[in-house]
Symmetry: D2
Subunit: 355 residues, 4 copies
């Protein structure tokens, strides 16, 4: 239902252009689609590809002030050459060689690291050295100074997640350099934040003010693993504990509120029993998974992707997806769900099982 | 601090590209600037330019199903040909000819209208006919059906504000067609929402559940004007009432919470006494003003723009700005501040007056 | 199921007494009844009785520093000689003669006044003179200085509501004398709080911090009356607006939150169409009504009480009650519901209509 | 400033009495004191007195349906023969003989148990068997069914804390009998609630809805002890971790909100280094301590009370108090602070150290 192409209309449209105006009626479907039509596409990055490239970077690219981090961003093929895994999220593999230090800085962007393998690096967050080990989730919330150092003779790689694209798109980013070296080279087993906060259901009286981001710097694998194990055991005992049959899951939370660890990023860990297929679902917002253990597949937008340990995949907004566990299947997950929920844009649709 | 350009490095970078990867170290400054560096630029659209183009559109472009609205979007010159007034916000002039109807639809995007001149149109929101008159703010929150009809023999123009760019960028949009005609052609002076909710400090017992968006469909000019008048009178009486000397302002709020009218858009009205200059300030997030009455200027990023009634201007994130009132100066304002605040990205900086 | 009365048992019980101990097993039913068994009883105080006694007090009892107020408390017959209308609430008739002043003081207890007839008194709350007229609700939240003065040659009476019994029982009360005279004898039509806050849906930018109690000092009858009138008109038009058929009601709220006007006291106004009977209901907590206009009855605990203008009645916790409107029937109501809700003790039971 | 005692005044006062009215001016100071003047008094109950009486009760008093619990309430000497430790709180020693069962019931009142010595009893809360061991805090929030059984050949005693006086005074109590025997005689080391919820910073996806009371049924001593130990170690390392020098403390919280475990009762555990004296303070509301370990004293209202393990003491509202640690000194604490805070009555005053 567009107007006839007349000289008058052309003159009108030229007037629009001269005045920095654009009509709605010529572009309504693009601007306001019937449902989300993301430019981002589903994609899988294989750990077997990522790790060698990171290792080669370790050989060729120094880490230090200026470049700041030896991090390699996953660039969604649909997002036109930006290092964005989705419109809101950044995901990267970061690599630190033996005895290397990545200097301290801070930024408004929220960040976390998740360790799929290896150990030996400490991240120093606002002066608190935090050990990084397999299965751990480490937080560096917005405007916290942080740097990393490798205390060993072996390199280490992990993934970083941030809200860089969201911050970039919405012009909210601030950045500041800190110390060229990390401010504390101690290598304690537990960070001060953990020692103060990681006691279930107990809150220090010195920490009664709620915080925007979680005061826990490290969520340890041993706790995550035990929580998931208990859920599956409880399910076997006939107790309500899992999200759905064969599907255990935890959300990492801020103990001062019970809510998400950071304002823009949700972090979760999912465990499927061998043989479990999750029902197909769609959600508003984008999500990224990394396989932590086991073998299985993800069906995303109707396409089945076989998955191995370390593989990372992204599901853009409103694309249907499900998981299939060949063995017990462990996956770390992060998403922009806090943005969607806080702004009341969240919608989800879960398909009923055929019976 | 970039690595040397060697064949090995080139091979590495080619490997990145093949695998849909991009290094952080080559683009850090762009991805994580020291402070927000918006692509959007400050810009003023003159009402004297906008209105004639809207009138010509009224002659040449039909309004109806498909195009949906005779709305002309303000395209920020820095945003590369998108009809976005800022990365988050849409602003448009909409025009409805005598006896015309814009059909009903609904969308996840939040919308409002503000009327700088004219009358005679009713917007029908979820079946409730809402009169649109000079100085009124009218809400159509996300997923509310709405259409408009002009009950008179004169055309009418107004501005629309929405979160279309934010919804587009983050893939949260849903859209549904409704009735081709509005569902109620009645032209009551007050909408049902106003009759139920517009009694100061009184909440209907039938409406005890808090709502995501304000249940008030129309914020009338007479209330806004009176509130601002009282603030300036109280200031004259030596009472605390204004934001700063000579500067009265109200925020339109959701009476069920006292918070913003919608999840993503803040609406305010500001009145300056003649001769008042506001102190320069910067804020994270983008904001749009429309001059409602009086004469004055805006100093944005160091450039002074003279302003007349109806003129619309945008201030991108972290650009310094101030207002200067030649006469009593009335301005409607909307912004994405609820997004920034809910996600904890808000920062503001107000310059101290020189003494 | 009590133990046998043996010498050993008596010795045990004497041991308890000596050590300030008491067994649970001898008193369980009293301490933990099957449902609330209030000592307070339903009771009606007739305005025709109250007003003459208040007037005689005006003749015999001075008002001034020390006694502070010429207020006569309604003493629930079940509460053993305390001036408590219920275990949580205080209700009194207060009387101020021509040109009299009740001196300023402040206390932790929350207070309001409601005016069933008369005019001419201003209450000065934290220095802000607030006119008191028929149908108005006036707030003096905890720790606000307040005094009253009668600007006319006629006496005036009204009711006070406070949380004195709750404060007394739980040892939370503080009290401080202020000025012996009120600090401002001006008699403006509208208080400063109203001028700043009583614009529907509009919040002053100078008042963005939420307050524990409402910043509105006076809820005017004209607004209350209009809100109730509109609800009944909307009901006639077939629109959802009333609580139930023929029953309009508003809650007075804090505009900064949409919640109750004060932390411990809920205030509402109810209007029944002539002929309306409300369904019997029970609620945890106690509530007090004053008839403002019209004729009707209250059925409380199975007993029907005929009611005239000004009559005050109390309904203790979990006692069934309903209202019957002979004419259009207007009632002001206050209760301790915020206490019950904030502490998660609230329960309600509404009987279904017989069909 | 009372009126002259005249025949007219006597007639007026007789009129008041006949009409169930009482003047404010004769009782203002009692009703509205300058600061809280609690009837409750500070008092210490010695464990050496309590335990033998409980043991004798075990010999003489059966436990079963009707009496429900072999619990002996601490009756504040100032509260006139009520088994109330304060106007809001109930504290009791409960005793269960070998192989005994206390039958299941539920009530609106919130309850917890704290174990100062012994083991062998399981409390079954909504069907979930919860082990009770030394140093553990066990919750039975309002309207949860619960019963206890002793699985051993030794008796066990512990303390109960409830909000019985508050519920009684405000008429909010409901009570319902459940199973005469507990519904599950299993004796697992960890309850299902713990297995699901006691993983620091991890929330089960099956438990995303916030709960009024904590879903954790048992807060184990090993966690409490470790948290306090870490606080003191961090303090030694020069890190902020304790409330004040030498004073470590945790609050037991609801992991779904980070707030108090139940709506009316706050539970905390405090540990003082040997030699630590806390600064004198006053708080609105009443609090109860039980010495868990070590030796020390409490100075309450100017009187010093020497304390041994198991001793229980109460501090009424606004009475000054401080603690003195002779050895490392461990104390469990509960209070009505959530009531005071939720209703905005909380005030505290801490005396500055003399220098």
């Amino acid at each position: 239902m567009q107007p006839d192409d007349t000289p008058e209309l052309r003159a009108l449209y030229e007037g629009f252009e001269a005045m920095h105006l654009m009509p709605l009626w010529t572009q309504l479907g693009d601007l306001m689609p019937r449902h989300p039509k993301p430019k981002a596409v589903p994609h899988v990055w294989k750990w077997a590809d990522l790790l060698p490239l990171a290792q080669t970077s370790g050989d060729l690219v120094p880490v230090g002030r200026g470049g700041e981090r030896r991090a390699i961003g996953l660039a969604n093929p649909g997002l036109g050459g930006h290092a964005y895994v989705s419109p809101t999220l950044w995901a990267a593999i970061q690599y630190l060689g033996p005895r290397e230090t990545a200097p301290e800085h801070r930024h408004a962007q929220n960040a976390f690291r998740f360790v799929v393998e290896g150990e030996g690096v400490w991240t120093v967050v606002n002066g608190d050295p935090v050990r990084m080990s397999r299965g751990d989730l480490l937080l560096t919330p917005g405007w916290h100074f942080h740097g990393h150092h490798n205390d060993t003779d072996k390199p280490m790689a992990w993934i970083d997640g941030l809200d860089i694209p969201f911050a970039q798109q919405n012009d909210v980013g601030f950045f500041e350099f800190g110390s060229d070296r990390v401010t504390d080279y101690a290598t304690p087993r537990f960070s001060r934040g953990e020692r103060l906060w990681c006691h279930p259901g107990l809150r220090p009286l010195s920490g009664l003010r709620d915080t925007v981001a979680s005061p826990i710097g490290a969520y340890r694998w041993e706790h995550t693993d035990r929580a998931l194990t208990e859920q599956l055991l409880l399910e076997e005992e006939g107790q309500p504990a899992t999200v759905e049959q064969g599907h255990a899951a935890i959300r990492y939370v801020n103990p001062t509120t019970g809510g998400d660890v950071m304002s823009t990023i949700r972090c979760e860990f999912h465990r499927l029993r061998a043989g479990t297929d999750t029902p197909p679902r769609r959600d508003v917002g984008s999500t990224v998974f990394q396989v932590f253990d086991g073998k299985g597949a993800a069906v995303i937008g109707g396409v089945t992707h076989k998955l191995d340990i370390g593989d990372i995949f992204v599901i853009p907004s409103w694309i249907p997806w499900s998981l299939q566990a060949e063995t017990q299947f462990d996956l770390f997950r992060f998403s922009d769900a806090p943005i969607m929920e806080r702004l009341n844009f969240m919608r989800s649709h879960v398909e009923m099982a055929e019976t």
